[in-house]
């Protein structure tokens, strides 16, 4: 009894996960899709780097943006990019299902990765899929994930006013905005989020997928 008195309980303080912060969004248009993410990578209250890309091209017309634990994001991106099945490029809805399955495969030790997938569907219309960490997904008109997600979603709701997915007959969730207007909206919401979210800032990477292909734009955000 005397021997056990001095033994202290050691609580485990090591976690296999870390949150590297940042925000990702995607907006689906009639014939385009805009995917954007900030380029700051943080840990705790420190900045690891100001120009880290959270966006990955998974297929010809399919782009994924992920926030969360970037080591898991990198592993997930490698896992998905390696799939070149049936000698043809995977369509965006097919890749969406694959991503869901890949995430659920690790249901009991998840990828700490909050994803938005964007691209063009088989008819050339914009599509966005939003995920949780274990693969639950839904096709939506727009989505935001990450530390600044809660700041951006109300503004996107206000500007894009997507109809409820529960309505019958099913209504088109893509926004009637022009591509340039959608890109301007993305720039505005990131500027706002960078003001109030400490993990969002430094730079903004915008990828636009349309019939002509994939183009990338980069601009500066607040560095504080």
């Amino acid at each position: 009894m005397a021997a056990t008195e001095g033994i202290k309980q050691h609580q485990s303080t090591w976690s296999p996960y870390d949150n590297n912060g940042g925000t990702c969004i995607a907006i689906a248009g009639a014939n385009y899709c805009v995917i954007a993410a900030d380029t700051r990578m943080s840990t705790g209250y420190s900045i690891l780097t100001r120009d880290y890309s959270k966006i990955c091209n998974l297929a010809d017309k399919c782009v994924m943006a992920s926030s969360g634990f970037q080591a898991d994001v990198k592993a997930l991106q490698k896992n998905l990019s390696a799939r070149h099945l049936h000698n043809k490029q995977m369509s965006c809805p097919a890749m969406a299902q694959l991503l869901s399955n890949t995430l659920y495969y690790k249901r009991f030790f998840p990828y700490y990765s909050f994803n938005v997938l964007g691209g063009l569907d088989n008819e050339g219309k914009g599509c966005v899929f939003t995920y949780d960490a274990v693969g639950s997904y839904e096709r939506v008109g727009y989505g935001a994930q990450g530390t600044g997600g809660t700041l951006m979603m109300p503004v996107l709701d206000n500007q894009l006013k997507s109809p409820s997915p529960l309505l019958l007959p099913a209504q088109d969730a893509t926004t009637p905005l022009l591509e340039s207007e959608a890109v301007d909206l993305v720039k505005d919401v990131f500027a706002s989020a960078a003001e109030r979210d400490i993990y969002t800032g430094d730079g903004l990477e915008i990828v636009v997928v349309n019939a002509e292909g994939v183009k990338r734009e980069f601009l500066e955000l607040r560095r504080d």
Partner: protein, 174 residues
């Protein structure tokens, strides 16, 4: 569950050109149950000073009573109304916490994060009362629609040098 999330609330105030606006949601809940849909969180201290209180509802009422009491004593002694800066010091003293006066907007409540995003995007300086009303209403409604614990519409007060307009907003009633 945090004590600040027990009742649910959303509060926002904005500065305009020679005017200000203050708005809140109207829900009073007990965790996930809604108890009242007309709960007042904004109180008038005097014609040019309104205070909005978020968080635990019982403390909202208690603090309102204490502020009203202290202000009435001040009026008796000083024979005038308290200035906002003075009132801010009173709030600081009662809460043991330093409050700064904001130049643009202030948010509070369970919907605070959403409100930060919405206000930051929609706010611009020196808005006239009508435009200020539109802006604060849109920011409030968009934000409370993304918060389960706030809702059932909104109360907006727009205060100008000569008049106060009080309006009730109808939003998603959930």
């Amino acid at each position: 569950m945090s004590i600040f999330e027990y009742n649910g609330s959303a509060l926002v105030a904005m500065v305009g050109k020679n005017c200000f606006a203050i708005a809140s949601d109207r829900r009073l809940g007990v965790q996930l149950q809604t108890i009242a849909t007309d709960f007042q969180r904004i109180f008038k201290i005097h014609d040019k000073l309104y205070v909005g209180l978020s968080g635990l509802a019982t403390d909202v009422l208690t603090l309102h009573q204490r502020f009203a009491f202290r202000h009435k004593l001040y009026q008796l002694r000083e024979e005038r109304n308290m200035r906002p800066e003075t009132f801010a010091s009173l709030v600081s003293a009662l809460l043991y916490e330093k409050r700064e006066l904001a130049k643009d907007f202030v948010v509070a409540g369970t919907a605070a994060e959403s409100l930060y995003g919405a206000c930051e995007s929609m706010y611009k300086p020196d808005m006239e009362p009508e435009e200020l009303f539109e802006t604060i209403s849109q920011a409030l409604l968009s934000s409370i629609d993304r918060d389960c614990l706030s809702g059932w519409g909104g109360h907006v007060y727009v205060v100008s040098p000569n008049q106060v307009i009080e309006r009730t907003l109808k939003g998603r009633m959930d």
